[in-house]
């Protein structure tokens, strides 16, 4: 489809500098530079370290994306950029870069919502998204359940974490077990050799009394503390910690809560499509459990491949492409970076 618009996407909301290029729903390039290793010794993302890395990485990452796609900036029809939510200083580098590219190449710029982009990226793998759909977005920075009625103009938040993000719980439990940062991949790996039913960890906000006020909200802080207590009790008793069993049981508790709430939302709203995105969507147990449970209700689960689940430029380009196709007006050049951009705002 050579006549579909060619859209470039820039992502810098956390520790990944991403530049993606799409034509319609076709992914042409997805270049990424990560500062994750610089953050490892701090046990979490350090905002200033991330911002400095974005400034250094943006020009070379853009070069790689353009080369990969075999296009020049003059060929691009529009530039989309994550304008929020995320780390303020990190977002600002991407937004200023997008404006620099847009100004010099005389192209329109779209400031877009990072979370909506996590939903839109699935269109690159599975084609247009049926609307309405339910989206479950889980990462180190966010855990949200949304009703996607119109991805170009607004999504409705149904629930979110009231304390830690799901990915944050993975990081903290990994650290407790002596596994590396970020914690998602090593826990997933360890859990494969463990017994998910070995330890009964709590499922936050699933008791009847909590469901009244927090039907679609999440809480992972209690779970994280329960794991810490369990591990410490073992250590104090001088017993070895069964890392694989702890990882599997913890992962099972997280996936159980996420999938049951997401599917409950689908059923309550009579919606047949569930999209899962964000770094935690790369977790193999979450994908398997969601599909298994959804099948019973005739709900289709769409999860993009792991590389598209984590933060990247392709997701921003995918949302930009959707906005251009829907005839949404571009942003102004005074477009701000907004670390607390609400979900109801898809483009600024």
């Amino acid at each position: 489809m050579a006549d579909e618009p060619l859209i470039l996407g820039i992502e810098t909301s956390c520790d990944e500098t991403g530049v993606g290029i799409v034509r319609g729903h076709t992914l042409l390039a997805d270049a990424l530079a990560s500062s994750v290793e610089e953050h490892a010794r701090f046990g979490g993302v350090v905002p200033e370290v991330a911002s400095r890395a974005h400034l250094e990485a943006i020009v070379p990452t853009m070069d790689r994306a353009l080369t990969e796609a075999g296009v020049t900036l003059a060929d691009i029809d529009a530039i989309a950029v994550t304008s929020g939510p995320g780390l303020a200083g990190a977002l600002l580098v991407g937004v200023a870069a997008a404006k620099g590219y847009a100004l010099a190449a005389e192209k329109p710029v779209y400031g877009v919502n990072h979370l909506a982009a996590h939903v839109a990226v699935d269109t690159l793998e599975h084609g247009p998204l049926p609307e309405p759909a339910i989206a479950l977005l889980v990462s180190g920075g966010h855990s949200s359940l949304l009703l996607v009625d119109d991805l170009a103009r607004g999504v409705t938040p149904l629930g979110a974490t009231i304390d830690d993000a799901a990915g944050e719980a993975f990081d903290k439990v990994a650290r407790l077990l002596g596994l590396p940062f970020p914690g998602g991949p090593p826990i997933d790996r360890e859990a494969r050799a463990g017994d998910a039913a070995a330890i009964a960890f709590p499922r936050g906000l699933t008791a009847a009394k909590d469901l009244a006020a927090h039907r679609y909200d999440f809480s992972f802080s209690g779970l994280k503390t329960a794991v810490a207590r369990w591990v410490e009790a073992r250590q104090r008793a001088g017993e070895p910690v069964p890392v694989a069993d702890v990882a599997a049981s913890f992962q099972e508790a997280v996936c159980d809560v996420l999938t049951s709430k997401a599917l409950a939302a689908c059923r309550a709203q009579g919606i047949e499509t569930l999209v899962i995105g964000g770094g935690v969507a790369a977790n193999s147990r979450l994908r398997a459990m969601a599909e298994q449970r959804a099948e019973k209700y005739g709900i289709r689960v769409r999860v993009p491949r792991p590389k598209l689940c984590t933060d990247n430029g392709a997701m921003v380009a995918a949302l930009g492409s959707h906005l251009v196709a829907a005839g949404v007006a571009p942003s102004r050049l005074d477009l701000p970076a907004d670390s607390a951009l609400p979900l109801t705002t898809v483009s600024v």
């Binding site: 010794r41 701090f42 200033e48 943006i58 020009v59 853009m62 200023a96 590219y101 100004l103 104090r236």
Partner: protein
């Protein structure tokens, strides 16, 4: 708080090859524009050789609360301002700079492809705002295929303030500190850029024989510095920034990677042992 207006250097030309005379930079009023080179790297060198061409250069600085974009003409013997926008607002660099770049291009009836080079103030300055100018310059340079040149932002305060005696140039570093440098009587930087408390900056400046202070930081901490404060320039002067890069522009020097003068490490503490949850 927002104040819009010229932040120094507006409509003024500085001859960069001569030391500034007493009382400030040489002001070169009569400018004769012969031709504007259109686009492409290397034209700066050509202009230099031919001696009569004028090239159009974009200047950006976001190292202080004064967010600045300017278009200047660099000719064989001078630098002249064509268009200048400056807004003082410490919290909106990201919002303000790109519209100002767009505005100076419109003011000069030019398009981005008419630019021959971009000059950016490298700071030092508060990091978040500083990066806005540098990433804007770097990305525009990448698209246009033109060189980018960096200049220490304090030089664009200290150089034009030189008047025969050493001068302390200072900008606000927040956290009750200053970014500062000391310039000799001819405007050459002799110490700095550094970041320290005003007390330390004042002591060092005195050791170096500074008799006057200049810049927003000097205004803010005038009492502690205890030096007479020169009113202008309060913020980096765009025409001076271009003048300080003019040799490189004329020579068509290779593009430079715009690395901020951070002077401070990121605030971050390495993860320590976890606190137990059991009592």
């Amino acid at each position: 708080m927002r104040w819009v207006g010229p932040c120094g250097g507006f409509g003024r030309a500085v001859a960069p090859d001569q030391p500034a005379g007493p009382g400030g930079p040489l002001v070169w009023e009569g400018r004769v524009r012969v031709a504007v080179c259109r686009g492409g790297a290397g034209l700066g060198a050509l202009a230099g050789r031919l001696g009569w061409l004028t090239v159009l250069v974009l200047v950006v600085d976001s190292s202080t609360p004064a967010v600045t974009a300017a278009l200047v003409e660099v000719s064989a013997d001078g630098v002249a301002s064509r268009a200048h926008r400056c807004t003082v607002d410490a919290r909106a660099h990201g919002e303000l700079l790109a519209p100002q770049v767009d505005a100076v291009l419109a003011d000069a009836d030019a398009r981005p492809r008419d630019l021959t080079a971009i000059v950016a103030g490298l700071g030092p300055g508060p990091f978040t705002g500083l990066r806005v100018g540098l990433v804007t310059a770097a990305t525009m340079g990448q698209v246009l295929g033109i060189p980018t040149y960096g200049v220490c932002s304090l030089d664009a305060i200290g150089y034009p303030a030189a008047s025969g005696e050493p001068v302390l140039a200072a900008s606000d570093a927040r956290r009750k500190e200053l970014y500062w440098a000391v310039y000799d009587g001819a405007g050459e930087r002799v110490v700095g850029p550094e970041v320290s408390t005003p007390v330390v900056a004042a002591a060092r400046a005195r050791e170096l024989g500074a008799t006057i202070a200049v810049g927003d930081g000097a205004h803010r901490y005038a009492e502690t510095l205890d030096l007479p404060v020169r009113v202008e320039p309060r913020y980096p002067d765009a025409t001076v920034l271009a003048s300080l890069a003019a040799e490189r522009i004329r020579a068509g020097a290779p593009s430079e990677r715009l690395t901020p003068l951070y002077l401070r490490r990121p605030d971050a503490v390495a993860a320590t042992g976890r606190k137990p949850v059991l009592p």
